[in-house]
C-alpha cells in the first residue's frame, strides 16, 4: 500500500530527479525513491538501504548491532565493525566474503570538515628496499603475457579485450602493478555484470557475456596515456608505502585531509558500480575499471566534487564527461586501490624470479599500524541474512507498488 504519493522531485545540480514515496509493507514502512522512468532507485527500511544502480548488481547497506553490512549482490560483500582504539586512534575491521573467499582489512577512522572517513591501514609493510625495487625501472623490460598472468581464456579477458590491453613488456613493477589493478577491477566488473544480467533475465543491460568479439568492437580502448597516469599513481603510492615502512607506520591523529581530496592525488580507478550525474543532471553509471580524474579540491554542500571521466567502458558514463562524485566514493576508490596494490605486491613478491620476473630484494615484512585482525567468523551468515531481508523488502515494495 502506498501511504502517500510522490512528494518531492529533486532536480540537478544537486542530484538526479527522484520521486520519493512512503510505502507501507507487511514488514513496516519503507521510503522509496524512483527515477523519472518509474524504476526504483533506492529503498530505505529498517536500518537498511537497498540500491538498484543503473548497471550492476543490487547493493544493500544495513546497520545491525553496531556493524555495517554491505552486500554487493550474490558475489558477497563485507561486514564492518569496530576493531580497536590505540594511540588515540580508532580502527575498524572489514571482513570481506567474495566468491567464497574470506579476507580481512583494517581501516583507520578519522574526520575532516565534520565528516567521518576511513583510510586503509596496511596490516604489514615490506622492507623499504622492496618498495624501491618496485618503484624504480627494472634492468631490462620483462615480457609477461596473458598466459603468465593466467588470463588467457578467461571470459572477462575476452569480454574486455577491446578495452584493456596489457603492456607488451614491463619496464618496471609499477607497470606490472597497473595491469594487475586494472585486471582485478575488470574481473569484478565482469562478475557483477554477469550477475545483474542473470537477475534481469531478458531485461536491458550490458551486452551478453561470452560474445567478446561483438563487445570488443564496441569498446574504446583504455589509452596508453591514461594507463601511464595510473602507473604514476601506483608509483606515488609505492613511495608513500616506503615512507610509512621507514617511519614504522607513524600516522597523524586528529583531523586530516582524506586522500580523496589530496591535491597530489587526482586519478582514481573506479572499484564498484556507482551512479553519478553529469553537469546536465543526467544520470550515468560508472563500473570497476573505469578511470576518473578529480577536477575540484573542495566538496560542495552535498560532499560532491567534480570529476572528469578519463576512460570508461561502452555502457558507462562517456569518456570526457564531467560528473559529480561523492568524496566518500572517491575515498573508497583510493582505499581499494591501496588494498589491490598490496595484493599485487604480495603476488609480485611471491613470483619474483619466476616466469621472467626479476629477482626481488628483501621481501620480508614487518607489522603495520595495528596487528591484522581475526576475520569475522559470522560474516558470511550476516551477509546471507541481509541479502534475504533485502530481497523480501524489495519484493514487498514491488507488491505494494503494484497494488498487491
Amino acid at each position: 500500500m502506498i501511504v502517500d504519493g510522490p512528494r518531492k522531485v529533486q532536480a540537478s545540480p544537486t542530484g538526479p530527479a527522484r520521486k520519493i514515496q512512503t510505502v507501507q509493507t507487511p514488514g513496516g514502512a519503507a521510503t522509496v525513491s524512483r527515477r523519472p522512468s518509474g524504476g526504483v532507485a533506492t529503498i530505505q527500511t529498517k536500518g537498511m538501504t537497498i540500491t538498484h544502480p543503473l548497471r550492476g548488481p543490487t547493493t544493500v547497506v544495513a546497520q545491525r548491532n553496531g556493524s555495517t553490512i554491505v552486500v554487493t549482490g550474490r558475489q558477497g560483500g563485507y561486514v564492518q565493525h569496530a576493531y580497536l582504539n590505540r594511540n588515540g586512534r580508532s580502527y575498524v575491521q572489514r571482513t570481506y566474503v567474495v566468491g567464497g573467499r574470506t579476507y580481512v582489512s583494517v581501516y583507520r577512522s578519522y574526520s575532516y570538515g565534520g565528516y567521518g572517513f576511513y583510510g586503509y591501514a596496511p596490516a604489514y609493510y615490506y622492507h623499504p628496499v622492496f618498495y624501491g625495487w618496485a618503484y624504480n625501472p627494472w634492468g631490462a623490460p620483462v615480457v609477461y603475457g596473458p598466459a603468465a598472468w593466467g588470463w588467457a581464456g578467461a571470459p572477462w579477458y575476452g569480454y574486455y579485450g577491446g578495452y584493456f590491453a596489457p603492456y607488451p613488456a614491463y619496464a618496471s613493477a609499477s607497470q606490472w602493478l597497473t595491469d594487475y589493478l586494472l585486471a582485478a577491477n575488470l574481473q569484478a566488473a565482469y562478475a557483477a555484470n554477469a550477475e545483474a544480467q542473470a537477475a534481469a533475465a531478458n531485461g536491458p543491460g550490458a551486452p551478453a557475456a561470452g560474445d567478446p568479439a561483438a563487445t570488443a568492437s564496441r569498446q574504446t580502448q583504455l589509452s596508453p596515456e591514461v594507463k601511464q597516469m595510473i602507473a604514476e599513481e601506483v608509483k606515488q603510492q609505492l613511495a608513500a608505502a616506503q615512507s610509512s615502512a621507514t617511519s614504522k607506520g607513524a600516522v597523524p591523529s586528529g583531523d586530516q585531509l582524506p586522500d580523496a581530496l589530496n591535491p597530489a592525488e587526482r586519478i582514481f580507478v573506479v572499484s564498484s558500480h556507482l551512479d553519478v550525474t553529469n553537469k546536465d543532471g543526467k544520470e550515468c553509471g560508472l563500473a570497476p575499471g573505469d578511470v576518473v580524474m578529480r577536477m575540484t579540491d573542495s566538496p560542495d554542500a552535498n560532499q560532491l566534487v567534480s570529476a572528469s571521466v578519463q576512460s570508461s567502458k561502452k555502457a558507462d558514463c562517456a569518456a570526457g564527461q564531467t560528473v559529480a562524485i561523492g568524496v566518500q566514493d572517491l575515498q573508497e576508490m583510493h582505499n581499494q586501490f591501496r588494498q589491490q596494490l598490496d595484493s599485487g605486491l604480495q603476488t609480485l613478491a611471491a613470483n619474483a624470479g619466476k616466469g621472467g620476473l626479476p629477482q626481488a630484494p628483501d621481501t620480508t615484512t614487518v607489522s603495520g599500524e595495528v596487528p591484522a585482525p581475526t576475520p569475522d567468523s559470522t560474516a558470511a551468515a550476516q551477509l546471507a541474512n541481509t541479502q534475504r531481508e533485502a530481497e523480501a523488502a524489495d519484493h514487498a515494495v514491488q507488491q505494494a507498488g503494484s497494488g498487491g
Binding site: T59, G66, R86, N302, T374
Partner: protein, 264 residues
C-alpha cells in the same frame, strides 16, 4: 549529591577503570588485540559525573536496546553492584537467590529492565579463565520518557563455550551480547535516512562506501527551537538551575538563557 550516590559512582568508575586498565595492559602495539580491547572499541562506556547541583549525570555511551525480559536492575544510587543475571546458550537466568538476599534487594527497590528500554554500557570485564564476559549497563531512564530522569544499573554475566574468548574473534562475542543488549542505531539511522530521502544525493550509496555522519549545523546563540529544527528532539534533556542540556547521539548542546552556549 548524596553520599550513597557518590559511593555508587565510585564503584562504577572503579569497575570501568579496572576493565579499561585490563584492556590497556594487554594492548601492546605489536600484540594481537584481546577480546577485551575489541569490546572496548565496539562499546563506548557511559561516563558518570555530577553537575553543579550534585545531580548524577550520565554522559551517554553506545545506546543499547534491551532484548530479553528478566534483567534485574537496582537504583544507580545503590552503593552495591547489582546481582548479575546470567546468559548462557540463549537463556537468561535470574540472579542467584543468595546474592539477592545478601544484597538485600528488597530494601533497594529492584526493578526489571523492560524489553525495548535503552541502556548504556557502564563496564565490561572479560574473564577468559571462566569463559565469561561481565557486562554492566546503566538504564537510560531519560530516554524512556521519565521525568526527572532516574537511573538503574544491571549486570549480565555472558557465558561462552570453552576457549572462545582466546580465539581473538570478537564477532561471536558481540553477537551473543547483542541477543541481550542490541546496539541501537535506529535514531541516527532514521536521521540519516530522512536527510537522504529529502536531498536525494546525486550519487547512490556506493556498495563499498560506508555512510558518513551528517554535518552538524549548530551555532552559539541559536534558540532551542532552532536547534530542535536542525537536530530533532534530543535523546534526553538535563535541566539545572542555570542550564538546559540537550543530549543527542554523540552530541551535547548546552543552553544558557534559552540560547546555545556550548556544543560538545
Amino acid at each position: 549529591m548524596s553520599r550513597t550516590a557518590q559511593r555508587a559512582l565510585q564503584v562504577l568508575s572503579w569497575s570501568a577503570a579496572a576493565a579499561l586498565a585490563c584492556s590497556l595492559a594487554a594492548a601492546q602495539d605489536s600484540a594481537p588485540p584481546s577480546i577485551a580491547e575489541q569490546l572496548q572499541a565496539q562499546y563506548k562506556l557511559a561516563k558518570l559525573t555530577r553537575d553543579a547541583n550534585g545531580n548524577v549525570v550520565v554522559a551517554e555511551g553506545t545506546v543499547l536496546a534491551i532484548q530479553k525480559e528478566g534483567i534485574m536492575a537496582v537504583p544507580l544510587t545503590n552503593p552495591l553492584n547489582p546481582c548479575p543475571s546470567t546468559y548462557d546458550r540463549g537463556r537468561l537466568k535470574a540472579p542467584a537467590f543468595l546474592c539477592q538476599v545478601a544484597a538485600g534487594v528488597v530494601e533497594v527497590q529492584p526493578t526489571n529492565l523492560a524489553v525495548g528500554q535503552q541502556a548504556y554500557p557502564a563496564s565490561i570485564a572479560v574473564d577468559s579463565k571462566k569463559d565469561m564476559v561481565k557486562f554492566m549497563v546503566v538504564a537510560c531512564a531519560g530516554c524512556n520518557g521519565n521525568d526527572p530522569p532516574t537511573y538503574y544499573k544491571a549486570t549480565v554475566d555472558f557465558k561462552f563455550p570453552k576457549g572462545l574468548l582466546a580465539t581473538g574473534d570478537a564477532s561471536q562475542v558481540e553477537d551473543t551480547i547483542g541477543q541481550v543488549f542490541l546496539i541501537d542505531t535506529s535514531a541516527a539511522a532514521a536521521q540519516g535516512q530522512d536527510a537522504q530521502a529529502a536531498s536525494a544525493p546525486a550519487s547512490a550509496p556506493a556498495a563499498s562506501a560506508v555512510p558518513a555522519p551528517e554535518p552538524v549545523n549548530v551555532q552559539q546563540g541559536q534558540t532551542i527551537a532552532e536547534v530542535e529544527q536542525a537536530l530533532g528532539k534530543p535523546l534526553k534533556i538535563l535541566t539545572t538551575s542555570k542550564k538546559v542540556i540537550y543530549v543527542y547521539h554523540d552530541l551535547k548542546v548546552t543552553f544558557t538563557n534559552g540560547k546555545v552556549a556550548d556544543v560538545q
